[in-house]
């Protein structure tokens, strides 16, 4: 309990983990009956890889959502980041670090633009990040007619395919990022201020929080996370891919994972641990349905229902707590 009591808002384990456990248990049973095996090594590795990709984005998305904002441009940032990384590396290990640095720098630049539009120009986050996404889309569409560049073999072997037992390195990266973010939220001024800005911007402002700076930082961090996801995807794919972000629906799925994880869409409540739960839940549904070879469209229907139901449950809980 001592570790839990350190959670930022002192909330119990988000219900998403209960749902995750249930889903896995039921899924395991059903798959077993179907004659399959949910938890074999290959499936677990696949599940964790899918989770890692989405998770890296969703952790960043959690930050902006906690701050009462939103980022719809992450999908394009991911694509851009894969390309910047892969093209800079160009297949050689020597350019690995500069490439990673450059990809992150470009991503951070996009985040800065998002943040400034939301704060300085007071553009609603939905529209601002949608617009920035369109800018990036145009750039990608007009400059790339397909995958480009080549990821350094060292990165492919390490981040892309290395694993410790059934756990891929990338998933460990996600765990590390989650830990760092959790720590930042609960133990740094930035984290405290971010949650305050999301909870009530006016209260935060009058308490001396520099809302704009906090939100811009959150947007930069969010884009950095998306950039990191891009680097990971580049290491998985072996090259930069101009459509990988949009094809993966990383924008909407990351938001879905965040809210399934119990973070309020309006901001000010929630945390990054729940988000990882949300990501794992979505990835588990994927894995189970894969094992059962259920039609992808049916899965999409289920996904829609899960998202709505999860948030409805949180809403009910919040209502029962009453008072506020």
């Amino acid at each position: 309990m001592s570790a839990l009591s350190l959670l930022p808002a002192r909330r119990p384990v988000p219900g998403v983990f209960v749902a995750l456990a249930l889903t896995l248990a039921v899924g395991w049973l059903v798959v077993l009956v179907d004659g399959g095996q949910l938890f074999n090594q290959a499936t677990t590795v696949s599940l964790l890889h899918v989770a890692a990709g989405l998770g890296l984005v969703a952790v960043g998305q959690t930050l902006v959502i906690l701050g009462g904002s939103l980022d719809l441009s992450v999908a394009y940032v991911i694509s851009l980041s894969t390309l910047v990384a892969a093209e800079t590396m160009n297949g050689s290990d020597g350019a690995l670090l500069p490439a990673v640095g450059l990809a992150l720098a470009v991503s951070a630049g996009v985040g800065l633009l998002n943040g400034l539009l939301v704060t300085r120009f007071r553009v609603n986050a939905f529209i601002a990040t949608l617009g920035v996404g369109l800018l990036l889309k145009g750039y990608l569409d007009s400059n790339y007619d397909g995958p480009a560049g080549a990821t350094s073999p060292a990165l492919v072997q390490s981040l892309g395919y290395q694993r410790v037992g059934p756990v891929p390195l990338s998933f460990l990266l996600l765990l590390a990022l989650t830990g760092a973010t959790w720590f930042a939220l609960s133990r740094t001024r930035f984290g405290h201020h971010l949650v305050a800005v999301g909870g009530d911007p006016e209260v935060a402002r009058l308490s001396g929080v520099r809302n704009d700076r906090v939100l811009v930082t959150a947007h930069v961090l969010c884009s950095l996370c998306a950039g990191l996801a891009g680097i990971y995807l580049a290491s998985r794919l072996g090259s930069g891919a101009p459509r990988v972000g949009t094809e993966g629906l990383y924008d909407l799925e990351s938001i879905a994972a965040v809210v399934i994880g119990g973070t309020a869409l309006a901001g000010g409540r929630g945390g990054v641990v729940g988000t990882v739960g949300g990501v794992l839940l979505l990835a588990s549904i994927d894995a189970i349905f894969n094992q059962l070879e259920v039609d992808a469209f049916f899965k999409q229907v289920i996904r829609g229902v899960v998202i709505i139901a999860a948030v409805a449950v949180y809403a009910r809980r919040a209502l029962r707590k009453g008072a506020w």
Binding site: L117, F121, R122, V123, N124, F126, I127, A128, L130, G131, V132, G133, L134, L135, K137, G138, Y139, D141, S142, L252, I255, A256, V259, L265, A266, D295, F297, F298, K299, Q300, V301, I302, R303, G304, V305, I307, I308, V311, A312, A315, R316, A318, L319
Partner: protein, 327 residues
Amino acid sequence: MPTVARRALSPIRLRVRPGGVLPILALLAVLLVLVGLRQPDFLDPPSLMSFLGRSAPVILLAAGQYFVIVSGEFDLSVGSLVTAQVVVAARLIDSDPARTWPVVLLLLVFGALVGLVNGLVTTRLRVPSFITTLGMFLILVGAVYLWSDGAPKGGLSEEFRRFGRRASEDVPLLGRVPYALLVLVVVAALAVLLMRSDFGRTLVAVGDNPRTAQLSGVRVWRTRTVAFVLSGLAAAVAAILLGGYSGVSFQAGAGLEFGAITAVVLGGVALGGGRGSVVGAMLGALTLELLFALMNFYGVSGALRSTVQGAIILLAVAVSATRSSSR
């Protein structure tokens, strides 16, 4: 003592205030001038009429989205709803003209029903509408693919397609007037009337401050649900016109939700509710459509279009946002 008995506000001041239609009219005028410079015959009645006709579905969607946004919510499901409607229509009509009208009716009911579900889940289960309609989006796309085995089946009858494709010929002065434009004019008039009615004013009040509205006897959940139903109905009408215009495809409604929201915001309506006019929202959609036509006329590279679109939206919204932030 000056009291409210004095009604001395100049009409100009009325329109420039935040939420007014003047900025979008100005933008529209600039685009019209640009089009006129490049393609003078675009402004001739026949081509203008056909442009308005083909823009009708998007404008209708913007109007539907306006009801939801002004009441303080979002509807991300309209695009998928349009797709679903078109695919459903094709399969049910199966090129049989006799089924046209029943199916049209069914589509309207279906649209209203989807709106009703969106509304009830949002208001009664207190799921933020962004999530509700995102979920509905996934459900509708998944369900329609599932139902049609991944490829639209059947076909639309010529009678059905008439609404979106054909025109009333030989109208004095104007020449050809597309049926879609007639539908648009009727629906737009209804929308304007609705927004002037008690319901319309109440809807805006709900978006502005739902607590106050509730304590003034407004059934907030019902009002918002009706807004979602209106959006669903608008999507149904848009689907009928769009299916008529371009035929069956899974791409029929793709991305329309973002287009509609963008249009509404461009038209001066505040996300979060409580401000803006339905006329502004529809003008916003018209402006976006004109922007696309403009890019066709100026030969902007296909791939660069989204950049131009994104830049214009950001610029327009940022300018109006910084201008109206009167704190």
